[in-house]
Assembly symmetry: C2
Homo-oligomer: 320 residues x 2
């Protein structure tokens, strides 16, 4: 008997700004979504659980729950019991899985959001059928996962995939992690916005009109929109982020030799504007590129629902 015979499976994705829940079927299709605002970091953990439970129950809409998968933007311990630390959430070692099982009365599974997104790509997306894949998730920063035979490599402490904090520039840009020169300072949503702000000071751009001349108001989606309108400042901002994406990817490919590289996360919505410079940089920077198979660098397919879909897979057959 599959879980769906006993009720619906809900996947829920909790990030720094929002909670997204949805019923996910065996083919990875999402329906009946529900949304909450993430209560923030300075609240009691009970409030965050309330937001999760509220979104899950709204999504299930009275149907019995066969199981719930949770994708959390934070460090999840290797047994999938606790969120050890989350930059935008109040959890510090909270036994979230057991707490939610008690409240929901069904099985609950928990993993890091980037791992879940990668799992969605492995089962239903761009990494399907690949023996090995690198999934690089570009949002505010860079997250990701290594997939081997469709399984997420979790690491000895469940902390593998922190690609964004590989050092790429000695003494470089300061990072929120307290170090300098981390990859995500050069290739991420934050880097895109910083690039655009810096370039706006040097030449005319529709971004100046969009923000009434206040570079502080620039957002990632504004840069994407400006680039679509042909704005050169926005296009250059993407060019640099894409170039650095390829450079960091080349280091990971040299180390791991994956069959395919999948780029997901919000920034990847820009498609070839991001991926073309990344492919060029990968070809230029990868050792022995002329004598080897250079892996394809492709866009993720699951979009903003990847976390939910991958979370549901924790219940329905996490690892193929």
């Amino acid at each position: 008997m599959s879980p769906s015979d006993r009720g619906v499976v809900v996947g829920v994705d909790i990030g720094g700004t929002k909670v997204l829940a949805g019923v996910v079927d065996a083919a990875g299709r999402v329906s009946d979504t529900a949304r909450r605002t993430t209560p923030g970091r300075r609240v009691r953990t009970r409030q965050v659980e309330d937001a999760l439970v509220g979104a899950i129950l709204e999504s299930a809409d009275g149907r019995p729950l066969a199981g719930v998968g949770v994708a959390a933007a934070g460090f999840v311990d290797s047994s999938g019991e606790r969120v050890m630390f989350a930059p935008h959430l109040p959890w510090q070692g909270e036994p979230l899985r057991a707490l939610l099982e008690d409240r929901l009365g069904c099985q609950v599974r928990l993993d890091n959001d980037a791992n879940c997104a990668a799992r969605a790509e492995a089962h239903h997306g761009a990494a399907r059928g690949a023996g090995s894949a690198l999934v690089i998730t570009m949002g505010t920063g860079i997250g990701g996962a290594v997939l081997l035979d469709g399984r997420v490599l979790r690491g000895a402490n469940g902390m593998a995939g922190e690609f964004g904090h590989m050092q790429v520039v000695p003494g470089g840009q300061e990072c929120e992690c307290g170090r300098r020169g981390c990859w995500e300072q050069y290739s991420s949503g934050n880097a895109l916005v910083r690039n655009a702000r810096a370039l706006m000071a040097e030449e005319p751009s529709v971004l100046a009109e969009m923000t009434a001349g206040s570079p502080d108001r620039v957002t990632g989606p504004m840069v994407t929109s400006a680039a679509e309108q042909g704005d050169l400042v926005a296009r250059r901002a993407f060019g640099s982020v894409g170039d650095w994406l390829g450079i960091g990817t080349a280091s990971l490919v040299a180390a791991l030799d994956p069959e395919v590289v999948v780029i997901g996360g919000g920034v990847s919505a820009a498609g070839d504007r991001l991926l073309e410079p990344a492919r060029a940089a990968l070809q230029r920077t990868l050792v022995g590129a002329a004598h080897r198979v250079v892996p394809e660098l492709v866009a993720a397919r699951s979009g903003p629902q990847a976390g939910m879909i991958g979370a549901a897979l924790l219940v329905t057959g996490a690892e193929r």
Copy 2:
């Protein structure tokens, strides 16, 4: 019936300068070694095979061969049939495995030398029992392997583990691979010698006496010996190589979260002189080091025989 019941197993390691063969028993102990000089890159491939066969037969000393494992300093295809390319050897896609089977009349197995060294550490050395390990081999350059449950991660094309060509300094030092800023330009035997040469120009050193004042004559073993004598130039050269070893290791640990990091290869003979600054840099550079388990960074145990031992494991039970 194990292979040893049917004769001896020989492991042979072919590098840029020498061919080392030895009989390896089930416990990974080496006896009856034989040595040849590598004929070099500009000879016919038959001459290199002759050197291999000569060393193997001398090592077997008339006993029947149960099997031969070959560790080659070059890119071996993922099926273990061919050496696709080797910087210091004439092979270009040579079907070495089959050629040697024909000449020796026994089973032959082939893999890259860094993979073999890692396998030796997994079975008989510092990575024994570890669920995951990173083996970093510091010789002229940097090679290595990722071990998962004692097995070498070979990659989609058998090319995983090229850690030395991860870019760590944009536009940095030129590398033999044709790119710039590769990790092995800052942390390797070559980097050690270059550091020492540069520092000799600035301050007094016993290296000046050892080389009669000719920095060109400095070799890696000289720097090791000078450091042991307390020479500050040599010690600083090690300090920098060790620091960079830790920085690059931190990036790999962020990505892979291994249980242990094993440092092998010729340079690792310096022990804590290399490993202490590396440990400090790993602790300083690894994201979230204060909130996570930082893997131990330890010296390899198999020494210069690691290639031979790991090659023999290809025959006797390559993957545990």
